[in-house]
């Protein structure tokens, strides 16, 4: 069967119709398709996949890559999904037009997942079991291992080159610019690793040539150069957050390795090594400490915050659980400190290499007793950068822990986002700090008193002045920081803490709101659901379901969030956890009643897709407010 035949096969029902979901239109194929690459982890396929992804990006075409990897170093199945969207939709798409099946262990499920009319690219060095064949897809076999064995020596090299080989075949099939691939390889290997460069390009060409000689290329799903990524970068959220910390002036980072947050501090350390080195002494203007556990990591960040440094730690849900006692201490003693929570699937160890938004309630109220925190929810790496900076300002202004709640999908996958900008006029908001001069001049210092009526007390930094000394303690204290076990002085302090938290709502990042004319329903979401939800809102509008859109960007919720909820009779709340945590937080912390909110949840560990949101909204709409459809 030729590629052209395969294309003819697709003239039938659109993929959307085939699934019975009327809202998903057929894709054109040009700059609009999804593919999934199935390999074995630890074989070097990640670099091959990144090469493919980056080459598409360099062609000016918006592209999304999702790494679906195991919690393992070598030998287990791993997948990489690429979605190409000329229109710029960046959510994951599970409607795979093409599967690159390089792992026999997962042939069965991989082949089952390709859309009818799609393609399966596989290694034809060995016969594909007959029972795996499907009549409605085209099998493209290329003898990658066989060709590699002829051209390369050593099993490791052969495996590595096989990966580049499938990129070559894909390049021919998808019309990927060969010169772009060439220049990317040159950038990677430079002139010093000439042999590697040549080997890689040779392997690429093996696949490329084979495909050109044996199949009609390109396929109907193909790339066509655009100019849509000129002002963008391809970056993961953890690296972006690390750059944010660097620019915010963070000087102390303490951490304990945990997937998927590890790369954040590692990136910070790497940048700090480059940009925080004192030119005269070669010494560092930063301290990055790998702690013995998450408890110590939190303690170190808090200790540094107490001293007046901008400090942070980075972890995932399991780490937040361990840090909870310390989080309460920082809250009650009013110490600025930033926690990055890169969420993964819980509970317990859960699925450490899958994504979820399962920590929303945890971070909002982490620790025992009456505690409540400021939390920021970036939607993509661009916001990881921006909100990292905002987090340090808010932590110091409100003298409290601030959480930046990202997730594995945002943190570890590469996203196309606008190039970061920086205003050199930025200066950190250090909040209310009494300095040596003010103390010397006799300023009255009452550590936990509400002097200004905004709930925020003044603080001093250790070592600055004798009159600034006080005892920081997690035990009951009064407005002068003195130990107390008396109801009145205790209540005075915790009530002020509540006022302080409430007052933060107008200083945290405002929600993103997009309104559609005539919309009576709302769709509310948070974090990395953004791209899938915005795409879903568009698709639903095409079906006559108009939705106003709001994305929460912070807790406590600003007044706009409440107003939006109250102005819509029904709002769908889309999130990635089982227990509708955002929904419950909205009910608990705004005047909206539960009956106005309809929960839409996906929490199996993979990034959200517009298809899911459309499906779920349509189903719930039919059940609940069917009369409004098309209104």
């Amino acid at each position: 069967m030729s590629a052209a035949d395969a294309a003819a096969d697709r003239e039938g029902p659109s993929p959307g119709a085939a699934r019975g979901g009327a809202a998903v239109p057929a894709r054109s194929g040009v700059n609009d398709f999804a593919l999934k690459i199935a390999t074995v982890n630890g074989t070097g396929s990640a670099s091959a996949n990144n090469l493919l992804m980056k080459a598409i990006f360099r062609m000016g075409i918006p592209v999304t890559g999702k790494n679906v990897f195991p919690s393992n170093i070598q030998g287990l199945p791993t997948w990489y999904e690429i979605r190409v969207s000329g229109e710029g939709w960046t959510a994951r798409s599970p409607e795979y037009d093409l599967i690159v099946a390089m792992n026999p262990a997962t042939y069965e499920r991989d082949i089952a997942e390709v859309q009818p009319g799609g393609w399966v690219l596989h290694d034809a060095s060995w016969p594909l079991p007959r029972e795996l064949r499907r009549e409605d897809v085209t099998f493209l076999g290329v003898p990658l291992a066989e060709m590699g064995a002829e051209r390369f020596h050593g099993s490791r090299t052969r495996i590595l080159m096989k990966n580049v080989g499938y990129v070559g075949a894909l390049a021919a099939l998808l019309d990927l610019d060969r010169e772009v691939v060439r220049s990317l390889l040159e950038e990677t290997f430079g002139t010093k690793k000439r042999a590697l460069l040549d080997a890689n390009f040779e392997a690429f060409d093996l696949g490329w040539t084979w495909a050109r000689e044996h199949w009609e290329t390109p396929l109907p799903i193909r790339l066509s150069p655009l100019d849509a990524t000129r002002d963008s970068i391809l970056i993961d959220g953890n690296t972006a957050a690390a750059i944010g910390c660097l620019y915010a002036g963070a000087t102390v980072a303490s951490w304990y390795p945990i997937t998927p947050s590890t790369s954040l501090v590692q990136a910070f350390e790497a940048y700090a090594g480059e940009y925080r080195e004192d030119p005269e002494t070669g010494k560092l203007k930063v301290a990055v400490i790998q702690a013995e556990d998450e408890l110590a990591a939190a303690g170190m960040a808090i200790g540094a915050g107490w001293m007046g440094a901008r400090s942070f730690t980075s972890t995932s849900g399991a780490g937040i659980s361990l840090m909870s006692e310390f989080i309460g201490l920082a809250y009650y003693t009013e110490i600025p400190v930033v926690f990055f929570d890169i969420e993964r699937v819980g509970p317990s160890t859960g699925m450490p290499t899958r994504t979820q938004q399962g920590d929303l309630l945890t971070v909002a109220y982490a620790s025992h007793g009456d505690t409540r925190h400021i939390a920021l929810f970036p939607a993509d790496p661009g916001e990881c950068f921006e909100l990292a900076v905002a987090a340090f300002d808010l932590a110091e202004r409100f003298q409290t822990p601030v959480f930046v709640v990202s997730d594995l999908d945002i943190g570890m996958n590469d996203w196309v986002v606008p190039r970061f900008e920086w205003d050199d006029g930025y200066r950190p908001d250090r909040g209310k700090v009494l300095g040596a001069e003010e103390l010397e001049a006799g300023a009255e210092f009452l550590r936990y008193a509400d002097v200004d009526g905004d709930g925020i007390p003044w603080r001093t930094l250790p070592g600055v002045h004798p009159r600034g000394a006080y005892f920081t303690r997690g035990s009951g204290h009064d407005y002068r920081a003195r130990y107390t076990e008396d109801a009145g002085p205790y209540t005075e302090v915790v009530d002020r803490l509540l006022r302080k938290h409430r007052n933060a709502r107008e200083h945290v990042p405002a929600p993103v709101v997009e309104r559609r004319p005539g919309a009576r329903l709302g769709l509310v979401t948070v974090g990395g659901c953004d791209c899938a939800c915005r795409e879903a809102v568009q698709r639903l509008a095409e079906e006559g379901v108009e939705l106003d859109y709001l994305r929460v960007r912070a807790f406590p919720f600003s007044d706009q969030v409440e107003a939006f909820l109250l102005e819509h009779e029904t709002s769908f709340v889309v999130e990635q956890n089982r227990d509708a945590q955002l929904l419950h937080l909205l009910v608990a912390e705004t005047e909206v009643t539960r009956d106005r909110l309809v929960s839409v949840r996906r929490y199996g560990g993979l990034p959200l897709s517009a298809v899911h949101v459309v499906e779920d909204v349509m189903a719930k709409l039919d059940a609940r407010t069917g009369a409004e459809v098309g209104a």
Binding site: T239, I289, I302, G468
Partner: protein
């Protein structure tokens, strides 16, 4: 109320240190510990050591965890910045604080419950990092605030007030510290101020973590017959094996400091530790020998005390991290932010 206002009475005749401060200026609030508590004697020794070294009170950061020991920083140096952390986690707060501001003088007060059970990990890792701080472990073998449970330092055979006999092996902070490569390890007794004060002084001047285990009897729950952490037992079994004097950088070595000392060790800042008395062939800079000696004496039923081990050349945390000499908290923001142009350079790598 768990604190009492202490009347401020000035005595013009009190001796002043180099800063013109008297011992009174290094005191804190009134202790609310039990009358006769060993911890109060340790507090008195801490006050004496800071006064003698003329440390500006507001340049001191005093930290603790939770427990009776954790209360004591309130009782010394009122003008120092204090931090009561959570149980067993004082070391990490001190580590982060020191990372941010290396110029303050850090003293952490802990206990055997705080440091040897819930906080054992943090103690060990603070030792490994060699955080520049004086770490005083007030060791009484018992949980006082919760009324008398055995702690991890209780010796085998030691009898609780309830009559229960401990049958688990104790964790000895001195042996733990020596096996981890601590750069300063001492044991003392709250009832021996003459020994304790110079050890604290040396510990404060030591560059790195100075662990001082102080047997500090609990008069309420562990000072009875059958206890191995009672005043009586400690007095009867303590042997001042390694007697040391501390000579600050500026002072001359005179007869007062025991001229003709057995050995002297030069500290990193130029001060000197004079070992007045050491066992034959004992080298306090040899950690393995110190370990062997302590074990040997313990087997003989003794509690060897003194400045048991010192390594003045060990790298402290900042040297390992390669941090700038200027405290990080003093660096202006302008010197920390790479700026707009560099951001373009950074993001170019993601094209």
């Amino acid at each position: 109320m768990s604190w009492i206002e202490k009347p401020q009475v000035r005595h013009p005749s009190l001796e002043e240190n180099e800063l013109g401060l008297t011992r009174r200026d290094y005191e804190g609030r009134m202790s609310t510990l039990c009358a006769g508590c060993g911890h109060d004697s340790v507090t008195a020794a801490v006050i004496e050591a800071f006064w003698k070294l003329s440390v500006p009170p507001h340049r001191v950061a005093k930290l603790s965890g939770i427990g009776c020991s954790a209360k004591t920083p309130t009782y010394f140096i009122e003008e120092a910045h204090g931090f009561n952390a959570v149980h067993g986690r004082m070391p990490s707060i001190a580590t982060g604080a020191n990372a941010a501001n290396r110029d303050l003088v850090y003293i952490g007060i802990s206990g055997d419950g705080d440091s040897l059970s819930i906080g054992l990990g943090q103690l060990c890792h603070a030792i490994r990092r060699n955080v520049d701080m004086l770490y005083v472990l007030e060791n009484n073998g018992v949980y006082g605030l919760t009324k008398g449970q055995f702690s991890a330092s209780a010796d085998v055979g030691s009898v609780a007030k309830t009559g229960e006999v401990n049958r688990q092996q104790p964790i000895d902070p001195v042996l733990v510290a020596l096996s981890l490569g601590a750069s300063f390890v001492a044991r003392s007794f709250s009832g021996d101020k003459g020994q304790l004060v110079p050890i604290l002084e040396a510990g404060l001047e030591h560059r790195g973590l100075a662990l001082v285990d102080v047997i500090s009897p609990c008069v309420t729950f562990n000072d009875h017959e059958g206890s191995t952490k009672s005043y009586r037992y400690t007095r009867e079994h303590e042997v001042e094996a390694v007697a040391a004097d501390f000579v600050p950088l500026r002072a001359e070595i005179t007869a007062e400091y025991g001229a003709g000392a057995a050995r002297e060790v030069r500290m990193h800042d130029g001060s000197t530790v004079l070992f007045r008395k050491v066992p034959e062939d004992y080298d306090p800079t040899d950690r393995d020998a110190a370990y062997a000696y302590v074990r040997e004496r313990q087997e003989a039923g003794e509690i060897p005390t003194g400045l048991l081990h010192i390594d003045p050349e060990a790298e402290e945390m900042h040297e390992v991290l390669g941090t700038l000499g200027t405290p990080l908290v003093e660096l202006p923001y302008e010197s920390l932010c790479p700026g707009r142009e560099k951001l373009a350079e950074i993001t170019a790598a993601f094209r």
